[in-house]
């Protein structure tokens, strides 16, 4: 997978799950993993909502 911002290579951890956040090692941008068919892809991470929390 390549970063949507800077095109650097991003690799997901082996036990990665859809919904998990990954960060680009080069530019620090955050992405959410999602499932496309059998593969994990990245899309822009959700923006922190005002109602997020515990």
């Amino acid at each position: 997978m390549n970063c949507l911002e800077c095109d650097a290579k991003i690799s997901a951890p082996k036990d990665a799950l859809p919904g998990e956040i990954v960060t680009c090692p080069d530019c620090g941008a955050s992405f959410e993993l999602y499932k496309e068919g059998e593969n994990l892809q990245i899309r822009p991470a959700q923006v922190e909502g005002e109602d997020w929390g515990e």
Partner: protein, 284 residues
């Protein structure tokens, strides 16, 4: 016994959700993951999906979480935490009312709906005081009101915001050390506690950089935490308290707890204990 089936609803996989997945594997629990964003829920129909024996609600979005829990519970599923518990713990006013009703020490608090009335409340309570949104987390929009002037400018900001922010929940500033205490209650047990030690900021949220350190579970803390949890209803909670000169005071009870910092600080297997609790509860 059959292997319990637990469905975990989530909208983001954080350290906590991964740890829960891992704990379920260790404990031989069939944990099924459901992204709340991907499903729709038929409110008027009665074609209900099979969601196993019990549901763990882990959505980080509070609005998502309470609406989904309302649906699930009303349709007959067992959900942790329950709807009532989520509503009460998700609102600082409702929590304060439940704590006071049950005689649990909590900081002095006032409620008002306009800045004029808030000034009257502050006259009575004195400065400094803390203004908090009744719903919200991670220290968002908490404001220290040092004096009349700072209160005035903060109220002015609030007046142009969403109506929720014109519900003024005003609390005396508690004279505590630069830390607070978060204890973890699972069912009828206090399983761990941490100090959240300030990194210089007056708010001691770990989301704002406070450090987690192991905190011994004294009799006082255990008793207070269990009473606070009971005041909300059975469930899984993070009970926040402060060391006031008069002893411990509970200021908040959290649902959908985070424990990323607590597990390494205390060595307590909180995700494993959550899974044990769910499988017990599924069998009940």
């Amino acid at each position: 016994m059959n292997i319990p089936i637990v469905t975990m609803f989530y909208d983001m996989i954080r350290w906590e959700e991964k740890a829960l997945v891992e704990a379920a594997k260790r404990k031989n629990i069939d944990l099924r993951l459901e992204d709340a964003r991907e499903r729709f829920f038929d409110v008027t129909g009665n074609d209900l999906p099979d969601l196993g024996d019990i549901i763990l609600q882990r959505c980080v979005s509070f609005f998502r979480s309470i609406h989904l829990t309302a649906f699930l519970e009303e349709k007959g599923y067992k959900v942790v935490n329950g709807f009532h518990q989520s509503i009460v713990s998700g609102n600082k006013l409702y929590t304060s009312l439940a704590l006071v009703k049950n005689g649990i020490p909590t900081p002095r608090t006032m409620l008002s709906f306009t800045s004029e009335a808030s000034f009257k409340a502050l006259d009575k309570m004195g400065y400094p005081a803390v203004l908090k949104p009744t719903m919200g987390s991670w220290g968002r929009l908490l404001a220290m009101l040092k004096d009349n002037e700072s209160a005035e400018s903060i109220f002015e900001d609030r007046e142009s915001m969403y109506p929720l922010y014109q519900v003024y929940y005003l609390q005396e500033r508690v004279k505590r050390p630069p830390r607070d205490i978060r204890s973890f209650v699972i069912g009828d047990r206090v399983v761990a506690a941490i100090y959240r030690v300030s990194n210089g900021h007056w708010k001691t949220n770990t989301a704002l950089g406070a450090k987690a350190e192991n905190c011994p579970i004294t009799k006082e803390l255990e008793d207070l935490s269990l009473r606070a949890a009971r005041a909300i209803g059975e469930g899984i909670y993070g009970v926040d308290c402060m060391e006031s000169p008069e002893g411990l005071q509970v200021h908040e009870v959290n649902s959908t707890i985070e424990f990323k910092n607590t597990v390494p600080a205390t060595g307590v297997d909180i995700p494993g204990m959550i899974m044990d609790y769910l499988s017990d509860k599924a069998a009940r």
